[in-house]
Symmetry: D2
Subunit: 237 residues, 4 copies
């Protein structure tokens, strides 16, 4: 179960995350594409670091909303398709120009969540990834609309679980508004990670439920993320 | 001497040019990359038309300035390099996803002009084009700093002349502020085109001077551009 | 029944509408605030023309979406409130600096439509207008959520009808997707205007229904809008 | 010699500075206007805090460049004028809607520096401030082109000195690239502040030169800025 982390989300003087220190501790880097974060130089520098460190590189496209970090927007199917093609295309080209190869695509934020439940969104995203390269892996939650749509096109889908988030009784991510939904303490994140590796996830009620994934996400834009990653890394992924 | 035209510069509801009708009349399409114009859907639709019509496709990157259509900005060498890589990369990937192949790069507006005279800008642009693909053709004015820098890296450079612009006595494009600098009348554009094909350009003083180019640019965002292109097309390029 | 028209929607080199020629033909100018259109210079120039022509001046705020001309976005109540305060505030200050006085506020596009039906959106917009100036008039459809919320705060509400749009049987604007929803022909727009002045609106089925408004909107971004406005103007508002 | 600090520069999820804790420690708040930083909600929240704390409130307008925090751009005189009017106007209206009153204007970053040396830029900024309100105070370096232009229009000019920056031998701010130009250590900033209060500034060579100002700037976007401000505050301004 490899570790993925969202990065390259800084924008000019606006800094988010600590990519330089996070990259050595993760397996896969989800690269912001400039629409919710990620200026050109940040994207290029982060991909360069990831290529040097031989990490898996993915595109992390979003709704076009810098001021809101990718809030939900009403895009037409054509606008969504073209926006994805532009964003994924930019990151793919830069990765290749720097000697790497694009490995996967994982939607960002509100687009990630909407592609879990909305068929049109899921089908559109799956199609554009397919049209760019049928060998790209799609990272999403198992059972999501996007997982279904991507599988139907023949894409490999990697199910994602979250080390720093708790689930509801039915196995869905608990909303950030719910008490206990977010795990802050690095030791607790580490404990959850070990459960996930063993096929279980913690619910907000404190019990364990079965949960399987190919890759585990850890958010890198919190001060304690580095500590969580160090604990996990020392344990061995 | 093939005809190139800037396009895909519309942005959402903001329409510039008449790409649908211009494409059949030109040989090479310079595609805006989203930074001075060109939303994702416009870029994708224009490239799709250009691929279908088997036209040469180029990237047309700019300073990042939508409100000013690419005004001159003070970018660091690193920012300029990364911005070019992002913009050219996006258009390259979209072109390939749609079954085409990127043929050339031509900077836009203030960046075009500055790369003619500024060595740092020219060297940076040449380097990033080289790092993306050494087979890309660079379109610029012969003798420009960009022409020199690209040639030194081994790039093929295509000298550009302008059918709808007059030159000064020394063979440089006359500034748009100079009287007679812009040729508006389609018949006059057509006459100038024939002179350029024969190795001569018109000056603002009305005389002809020697002028050689591989490709001639015609701006498509004027109402009479279509008529000029039809005259040229009927004459045979 | 005075005539209002949306304007100042051009953005840099991207031109929408024909404000210079439209202003003399209308009574009230709804000024784009920079978020769906309207660069600073366009806003300032248009307000200057409107002040000189002694027209009523209003702010025309939008969701922050330049690429989509103000598509629906999921903004929090606080974000919406602050965004409205910024946009209306900018246009109010510029109007006053140029010797005018802000007369009204009319939301734009998707925000207009959503404030007709969504209570949170309506209450938030009404509140921010009130907090800026309780004497501002609110332009919206009579009976809308925004009309209700603004009235409750004591605002004067001006009901708006549309000369270039037909209605459904229940008196709501027919969606632009419905056949006959949009009236293109200037003579037909003029006929509809006369019906509206007499307290009736045309439905997409061709019959007349009762319809009352204080102000009639005519969209100025169509080539034939000027002709419609000239017919109406010559008739006398 | 009152203390001013740039703030409201955060943008959505992108956080810069620590306005909540800085405001109680300063006398004057320079509010970003949305063009180099400052989303609508940040601007509104920061002004609200400043009004509650009865601080002096100023507008801090910039070149329109979010990705580069206001890099130098080639704006026409008209574009610069209108951009200033929009930015200052927005902050002025919001301040008034929240029960405050705009006290001053201080340009940001590259625009600040360019208005020190460039007459066209200085005259344009002075004129727009005058056209908005002749009672607004202009904060700039004494002797700058902006100081001259604003004085000629009758504006009160407040000379600005910098506690966390050293000067060259001729009394100009040393460029950030120069060794010792920036003072990082809070105790050193505090020492410099005391020198400035006594009419002297430190040069990069370590000696003191005469230097007079009405207001001292301290940048709040560094982790140690709070400590510097606490030392100064405890000393008494």
């Amino acid at each position: 179960m490899y570790i993925n982390c969202d990065m390259a989300e800084s924008y000019g003087h606006f800094t988010i995350g600590d990519d330089h220190n996070v990259i050595p501790l993760v397996d896969a880097c989800n690269i912001a594409c400039g629409f919710h974060g990620g200026d050109s130089l940040t994207i290029r520098n982060t991909i360069k670091l990831a290529v040097s460190a031989k990490k898996l590189i993915g595109a992390h496209p979003s709704y076009p909303d810098l001021a809101g970090f990718g809030r939900n927007m009403h895009l037409s199917k054509d606008d969504l398709y073209a926006s994805m093609m532009y964003q994924i295309g930019a990151v793919k080209s830069i990765t290749e120009a720097l000697g790497g190869k694009l490995h996967h695509v994982k939607p960002h934020g509100a687009l990630y969540n909407y592609s879990v439940v909305d068929t049109m969104t899921a089908v559109t995203i799956a199609q554009v990834i397919y049209d760019i390269d049928p060998n790209l892996i799609v990272i999403t939650q198992l059972g999501s609309q996007l997982a279904i749509a991507a599988s139907e096109l023949g894409h490999q889908v990697h199910g994602e679980v979250f080390a720093d988030r708790r689930y509801d009784a039915s196995g869905r991510l608990a909303s950030r508004e719910v008490e206990n939904a977010i795990i802050h303490n690095p030791e607790d994140v580490f404990e959850h990670y070990k459960h996930l590796k063993n096929g279980h996830a913690l619910t907000v009620y404190g019990n364990l439920i079965p949960m399987h994934g190919h890759t585990v996400c850890l958010h890198g834009d919190h001060p304690e993320a580095l500590r969580s990653l160090q604990l996990i890394k020392s344990y061995g992924s």
